[in-house]
Amino acid sequence: MGEVILTMKEIDKFFPGVHALDHVSFEVRKGEVHALMGENGAGKSTLMKVLTGIYKKDSGTIIYEGKEVEFHNTREAQSAGVVIVHQELNMLGHLTVAQNIFIGREFKKGIAIDDKKMNEEAKKLFDRLHIDIDPTETMSNLTVGKQQMCEIAKAISHDAKVIVFDEPSAALTETEIEELFKIIRDLRKQQMGIVYISHRMDEIKVITDRVTVMRDGTYVGTLITEECTKDDIINMMVGRVIYEDPKQKSMVAKDAPVVLKVEHLNAGRMVQDVSFELHKGEILGFSGLMGAGRTETARAIFGADPKESGDIYINGEKVTINSPEDAVKCGIGYLSEDRKRYGIVVQKTVAENSTMATLEKYVKGLFIDKKAEREVSQEYVDSLDTKTPSINQLVVNLSGGNQQKVVIAKWLVRNCDILIFDEPTRGIDVGAKNEIYKLMNKLAEDGKSIIMISSEMTEILRMSDRIVVMCEGKKTGEIGIEEASQEAIMNMATREIS
């Protein structure tokens, strides 16, 4: 490790209602790979976006190569030599590799673009990285791993001194990761400062020199990778004070029947051989880090995405679910994490949304039976305690929590016994959160069975009777609430996959 090339000191960043970064400090040395770790929402990406000028910091200083700097956009950061390789690749599929690398700063020959020179320069870059990619190949023909290497080549072509990798391995195969590591080691040898964001504990041990851990927008600490264990890092990641009491014991009767059984479900890379059971009256928490495949699993069960294989049993009977329509017929309701896109029709009234999934019941002849629709939606507005001036209110005018209640009403009207809540309290304020929790508990008491996908550890521990943990498309553990702890769950969520 060489001298310090980049120091971020006491960085503060506020978003409306959130203190996203609270006096965070971070440094990178020349010739080191510095891991940045933390749970979802710990502030890793925000910190890197502040660094590269995507966000403006509210206070604090950034010192780069001995001088205080503030980049106003990625372009400024790039020309200074600070580049980020995003998780989602910013590539133009229809252009060639070289055209992508030099986009926005093409070599020119008169008015024409000098593609020949661009190809030569791209070739030189690849040679420097010891990778074999044809610069004239069309980008969309490359594998994700190769595309990422093009992004790295693009980063280096800016004369980068600090490169940030944001979860670079998430979409790569084992061999591609090997190649990536080879390149990263090369870059380290060339005295670049490298920031490596990842959830994969085994990679951290293999490739990084130091680890900085963040939690809830604060800096927790920095360790030398060689000197620490996985448990040290996990303890730093989860050592948060839990305000709400976690659930003490399962509320499910010992002899509660299995209502949903999923066996060996496969659906793409994100759902591999997932099996679990859901009991009557149970809240089954699905925990895991971003990209663990929880939403994908839910969508596959619900028939929203195609399944490759696997069986689903409802009340002991094998069922075939090929579309959401089939799932709804089986009594499964899905409350999407993205309410506005998949959950409700915001420009329609509470009443219209309530009967959306059940409309055929409320049709008399050719017309919708408005009276019956009003009655049933009023019933659920009352029983769920939805705060709306009337059932004729447009849903767009309701708060997030009350919108969520309308979605719940929609599935209850439909008589769904199995409800999948995907991030049920995302974008909902604290008070309304408690109401949703109460409501979910009440639903479970009434004999509904609930799958709750949540990225909030406190929510998982507070609501679940049992917890399924996933990591990279595989189920990596299952634990009853009595034995569950943050450490145990995080350990399973970051399980090393070999």
Binding site: N90, L92, L95, T143, R269
Partner: protein
């Protein structure tokens, strides 16, 4: 792009497939010529070839231009009624106001650029969906054309009269034989615009916008400017098409022109422009236009009326779009 791995076995295949589609469409053109010639002796006449070419100029020019907004993932519906509007404006100035022909042409081109600019601003700066923005300018140009011409048809100077020299630009008679000079200009413009599309920043960024607009913005490119340029090019070529139309046909009627754009857009898509942007070539668009022109002119020779030509063109278009969708699916796996 899907995040799943793309098999890396089909090196260069997209390029070859692009060239492939162009090649296949060219075969279709040759096949159509052979078929019509075989079935109808009248089709084999020189005059038939001349009339096909006469019909093709303005559609081809529109297709060259509209290729650019199509590649950005947009569309320009205003080129058809725009063509008539520019032609009426130029003709009005020449015939009624006594302007020299070159000045009338210049005004027509100028107006076409202004409308193209308007389209570009609506789409790029005001963020209107291209379909709606250009549908509005389509209606506006139709109205404007009628106002300029006082709702009367206008004839640009006819052959033999002073100022009819511009008609020779497209068709010149040497020793009693008509030479389709216009075809040469069309080919020349295709070459120029193919160069612009493939070897200049305007073209490169047109493809980039259609490929992934967000990523293009993040690359620090002035996307608004290049997005507008695509519509300006489309407008300008509608202006050039207006001149071709005025030169080939004797009278221009206000209120017409709606539907021309569909032939141009259809030609471009048959020629391999992707309906969702990012892919396309100027040469392909030209070949696609000839499929449409051949159907239009050829089908009456085998006893099928104009209505059939529309139905068959529609079916051919569905085929072209399906090919595009299938290609995309292949890329995604």
């Amino acid at each position: 792009m899907s995040k799943n791995s793309v098999p890396n076995t089909q090196n260069k295949s997209v390029i070859s497939r692009l060239g492939g589609q162009k090649f296949i469409v060219l075969l279709v053109v040759v096949g159509l010529i052979i078929f019509f010639s075989a079935v109808s002796p009248d089709f084999r006449k020189y005059s038939t070839a001349m009339s096909i070419l006469d019909y093709s100029y303005y559609i081809a020019l529109m297709a060259i231009g509209v290729t650019f907004p199509l590649i950005t993932g947009g569309v320009d519906l205003s080129i058809g009624t725009g063509l008539i509007c520019y032609s009426l404006t130029g003709g009005f100035l020449i015939v009624q106001k006594g302007w020299p022909v070159w000045a009338g042409m210049l005004m027509a081109l100028l107006l076409s650029i202004v409308i193209g600019l308007l389209n570009g601003v609506l789409v790029s700066i005001m963020n209107l969906p291209p379909f709606l923005a250009t549908l509005c300018t389509c209606m506006i140009t139709r109205g404007l054309g009628s106002i300029f011409s006082n709702r009367l048809g206008i004839s640009w100077p006819t052959s033999g009269t002073p100022g009819s020299w511009f008609r020779n630009i497209f068709k010149i008679t040497v020793n009693g034989t008509k030479i389709p000079l216009g075809f040469l200009w069309v080919l020349l413009l295709v070459a120029v615009m193919a160069f612009v599309l493939n070897h200049t920043k305007i073209g490169r960024y047109t493809i980039a916008i259609g490929s992934n607009k967000e990523a293009t913005i993040l690359s620090g490119i002035n996307v608004k400017f290049y997005h507008i340029m695509a519509y300006v090019i489309s407008g300008l070529f509608a202006g050039l098409a207006a001149i071709a139309y005025s030169a080939v046909f004797s009278t221009v009627q206000p209120g017409t022109g709606a539907g021309f754009e569909l032939e141009a857009i259809g030609g471009a898509i048959i020629g391999g422009v992707s309906a969702s942007g990012g892919v396309g070539s100027v040469g392909g668009s030209l070949i696609g236009v000839f499929v449409i022109c051949l159907l239009k002119t050829g089908l009456p020779y085998i006893g099928l009326q104009a209505n059939w030509q529309q139905i068959i063109t529609g079916l051919v278009l569905i085929g072209a779009v399906l090919v595009d969708i299938m290609k995309k699916k292949k890329e995604k796996i």
